[in-house]
Assembly symmetry: C2
Homo-oligomer: 345 residues x 2
């Protein structure tokens, strides 16, 4: 700021209004628990002196709004139907609240609305953005990059544009998938099928790669593309049983898909794990404990992923403000996975 004239202080307002500093502070920050006549006196003093409250003053200096946008690149209905997003948001909300930052969730009906989301982000209403569930051909990352909004992605973004400065939090999808398939192979299974996730998302591609790392010469008939939903899992399992009635194991790209597959296996009279062993991915509670039988899966800590995304973003913003330099720049993080054995494999 070039204007160096002294700004009126909180003390000056308190003196003029004839109240304590604490009272001025309470009024300026919303006025909870202050009697109306006092509120009026403080307001009058604020106006007469041209006092700029701390919050606004700080925002002028640091250009911070203490607000972070969260964008889930899925239709609003899926955000509320898939517990994965609720868990990730829980981690984000806890972390942002701990640092008194407002979580601003931008909901959409679908991808057609992403240009509008980009405009809101570019409009200077938030300090940064947390973006997850990106699909490969989504224009959002480029819109965000152009808007110049500091961003941390949930999951490695798959787009082919300029990747400099891209920070993401991911889980070791490929390594986790390898563990799942090795576990099935270790049980003596040889006809191991894979129900993929939505292959326009890097998490699904990485899990398929992990499957192929172990099943080097896999029969292509054993791989069916799906979409991470329970209904998609049912459809994929029916197709697999029609194609390969001799299959003896299934690695599903997530737990919701695995739950759908288990229902179809039961309908078709296959016993799990005796006839067909099943492994999921995520360890989404309570889903994995409530399936019949309970689901063996690859655990990732979804809530912690959300918390870490928020932490990296806030640290990056702090660095921008304090000019700490490149040494403090956050870098991407890939979290490990763990095999959780239950009854299904």
């Amino acid at each position: 700021m070039t204007d160096t004239a002294p700004r009126p202080t909180l003390e000056a307002v308190a003196a003029r209004a004839g109240v304590s500093r604490a009272t001025v502070s309470r009024v300026v920050n919303g006025g909870d628990g202050v009697r109306e006549p006092l509120v009026e006196r403080v307001r009058k003093a604020v106006e007469e002196l041209g006092y700029v409250p701390n919050q606004a003053a700080r925002s002028l200096v640091t250009r911070r709004h203490d607000a972070i946008a969260v964008v889930v690149a899925e239709p609003e209905t899926r955000v509320f139907a898939d517990p994965f997003f609720a868990l990730q948001l829980r981690g984000i909300s806890k972390e942002l609240t701990a640092y008194d930052n407002q979580l601003v969730l931008l909901l959409t009906e679908g991808r057609d609305d992403h240009a509008r989301v980009g405009r809101y982000l570019a409009g200077g209403h938030v300090d940064g953005a947390l973006v997850f569930s990106l699909h490969l051909d989504d224009p959002l990352p480029e819109l965000i990059q152009r808007a110049g909004v500091p961003t941390v992605f949930g999951g490695r973004p798959g787009w082919s544009g300029d990747r400099r400065g891209v920070v993401y939090v991911d889980v070791d999808n490929r390594g986790g998938a390898r563990d799942a398939v090795r576990h099935l192979a270790g049980l003596g299974r040889t006809r191991i099928a894979h129900i993929t996730g939505a292959l326009d998302q890097t998490s699904a591609v990485d899990r398929l790669d992990g499957y192929r790392d172990v099943m080097v010469d896999a029969d292509p008939q054993l791989i069916v593309e799906s979409d991470f939903t329970p209904a998609g899992g049912e459809r994929a399992m029916r197709e697999l049983l029609a194609r390969c009635p001799d299959l003896d194991a299934v690695f599903a790209a997530n737990d919701l898909t695995a739950a759908g597959a288990l229902r179809v296996l039961r309908e078709s009279g296959r016993r799990v794990p005796d006839d067909v062993a099943v492994v999921g991915f995520d360890d989404m509670l309570p889903v994995t404990e409530q399936t019949d039988p309970p689901l063996t899966t690859i655990r990732q800590d979804i809530e912690e992923m959300g918390r870490l995304m928020a932490r990296l973003l806030l640290r990056g913003l702090e660095r921008n403000t304090t000019d700490e330099g490149i040494a403090g720049a956050p870098s991407s993080v890939v979290l490990p996975t763990t095999l959780i054995r239950r009854a299904s494999a």
Copy 2:
């Protein structure tokens, strides 16, 4: 605006960059599908001419951001656990998207964060707010009123402050409750209990009043306070059975509570509806069809409530902009309810 110098037009930018109007428009609105060299040329022309894009120009004139905040005055975890909020948000999202307004959902960990929500609303980041699930002692309505943000409430606000200009969308909670209890009385039931909702919310108070309208001399032992959650419904039902083992009907303040009550009744060996008839409120699908037995309830159209809240707010903002005058001012709406008979009563 006092500055009347002609602003450079979209056409002028197109001419200078040597591209079509459509290309300029696409670049200005995010740049989807425009090749990078063209994007650069348009950007250069925009800078040289000092062109202000439509969106920003419109925002300068109308002070519109085309963004509406939604505040659910519950902790983030409850927003994602209770399907009521997902339904209301679905209605809001559809309506806002139809008018190309961004839905900005402000999540919190609890009431301690409402002062921060008030600051965000006062910060000029949105054109208006939709606020629901208010509790009686919540400071939020007053913070919002002070911030001067046009607001429509979901459910009649219960606070005692200045009520001028307060607009809400509600459902006829009292009339619906009367219908529920009259239905039970019509089945010949005489010991009709009531499990209330959270009594710091007007919806719960109104439903209790409706119960009392019919059960004029109700035994106070037949009324147990609860909180709209399934676990609360279980606790309340246990207490009712201990207090009044001769009860023959229950009116629960919502379907989630009724579902909890049904579980406890089954555990205790009571047959529903033979021994105890049960009626809920909301008609929350699929909950009401999946209880054992399926639940008789009072239907309200939750998604339509959300849609109507958004419509009233947008209409009010439009009126402010066009100076249509008080004739177009939106007023509060109370929607009717319907008794839906299933097996439980």
